[in-house]
Amino acid sequence: MIAVIDYGVGNLFSLCRSLEAIGQEPVVTGDPELLRKADKLFLPGVGAFADAREKLRQSGLEEVIKEEVAKGKPIMGICLGMQLLFEESQEFGTWEGLGLIPGKVVTMEGVIPAHYKVPHIGWNELHFPQGDRHPLLKTVEEGDCVYFVHTFYATECDDAVIATAEYGAELTAAVARGNVMGCQFHPEKSGDVGLSILRTFCEGDW
């Protein structure tokens, strides 16, 4: 069973429909018992880091996620959900993340040239910085486009970066470390390329 973690942040409609489109029957839940029973977890999210972080903590789901991930359960964070996986975010303050992947989340303003628009919105090409593709991206070709909407991005991620996008700077597009994975872009809004990544995660043995 695939569980989409419901902690009161963001719109889960499209993610669930896209998972159904690839033959899954996602369960949207904030119930710790169901999350413990699930085979794989999705951590979605849009909006502000601090608010999302607080909701995870207050709901007690932070502990559940950490415990399940420590036991080896695969998790995929999407957009803000990916950013929550890191050690720290500097989005309007300094906030502690879940610390499941090394790195911190910072604004792209000041990093990218001033004439680039912020947020980074639109379809951008994926590149593989380490040359070879991580198994999560086995269906993706260098230069395939996916859909991004974000202002903050993850940096100092050690060797966890498995894909980047060029936007006046090399921005972290996807990360993986063991059973913890994340996409800055929205696979549920990235057409066939996105659906294939979701399928690889759902069907893979991580």
């Binding site: 719109n11 409609f13 499209s14 909006g47 628009k117 947020p119 379809w123 090409e125 809004k189």
Partner: protein
């Protein structure tokens, strides 16, 4: 490299797709769900559903169609038409819209953009503005382009962006339906005034009009059109191949 987006717009009335030529005289074209799937397969980068229904019953039909489309099409969906309140934002976002476009609603209640951006984020709020030259000045028109608000367009757009509009759709009433190309002069002024994505609308008649748009105005992020796609005058896949061939960053 970020790519230039091609966005077909589907005007929906009582569950069917229509297209106004200069906003008048509507023709029924096809099923919005089928058209959305067809466009997505052809390479559309995003879809705009514009609800031109006035009745509550029509609204219900529209959200049913939106929900069904968002269950079958996995590219960004923007919804506009009849968005006057935060409840309207909520209604369409719950049915699978990713962004919500406001036009007359923002004119009636200028605080709407700010309220929505605070609740859902700037990226969710698209300002759509119908602009027409009146005595050499760009003016904002309301009510589907029928009513001159008297507001100067560039300052209106700047104000809405400052309030949190994350993208701007600029529809030139002067070029809309004429099929002689986008309103480069008007779009240039908007691009110089704001630093959020600008979507060009109104005037595309052929593939070259899009190429001219992106070559003359590298700051324009997307081109939007309706009838030329609906009536098959321009195929999205041909258009995108031609754009790539002309050196424009394009998702193929």
């Amino acid at each position: 490299m970020i790519t230039k987006r091609i966005i077909p717009c589907l005007d929906v009335k009582n569950g069917r797709v229509v297209k106004g030529v200069n906003f008048e005289g509507l023709n029924d074209v096809s099923s919005p769900i089928e058209l959305a799937e067809y466009y997505t397969k052809s390479g559309a980068d995003e879809l705009v559903f514009y609800d031109i229904t006035a009745s509550a019953e029509g609204r219900g039909l529209f959200t049913d169609i939106l929900r069904e489309t968002a269950s079958r099409v996995f590219i960004p969906l923007t919804v506009g038409g009849g968005i006057n309140t935060i409840e309207d934002f909520d209604r369409v976002l719950k049915c699978g819209a990713d962004k919500v476009s406001v036009n007359s609603g923002a004119i009636r209640n200028p605080d709407l953009v700010h309220q929505a951006a605070k609740l859902y984020g700037d990226q969710c709020v698209v300002l759509s503005v119908d602009v027409k030259r009146v005595d050499g000045v760009f003016r904002v028109f309301a009510k589907g382009g029928r009513e001159n608000t008297g507001m100067e367009a560039i300052s209106w757009i700047k104000r809405c962006v400052a309030n949190g509009a994350g993208e701007v759709v600029v529809n030139s009433i002067d070029t809309d339906g004429v099929k002689q190309g986008f309103d480069i002069e008007m779009l240039d002024e908007v691009c110089q005034a704001v630093n959020v994505p600008v979507i060009a609308s109104g005037g595309a008649g052929c593939i070259d009009d899009f190429i001219k748009l992106f070559h003359s105005l590298p700051k324009v992020d997307a081109g939007l059109a309706a009838s030329i796609f609906h009536f098959g005058e321009v195929s999205i896949s041909d258009l995108k191949r031609a754009m790539a061939g002309a050196g424009i960053p394009t998702r193929l």
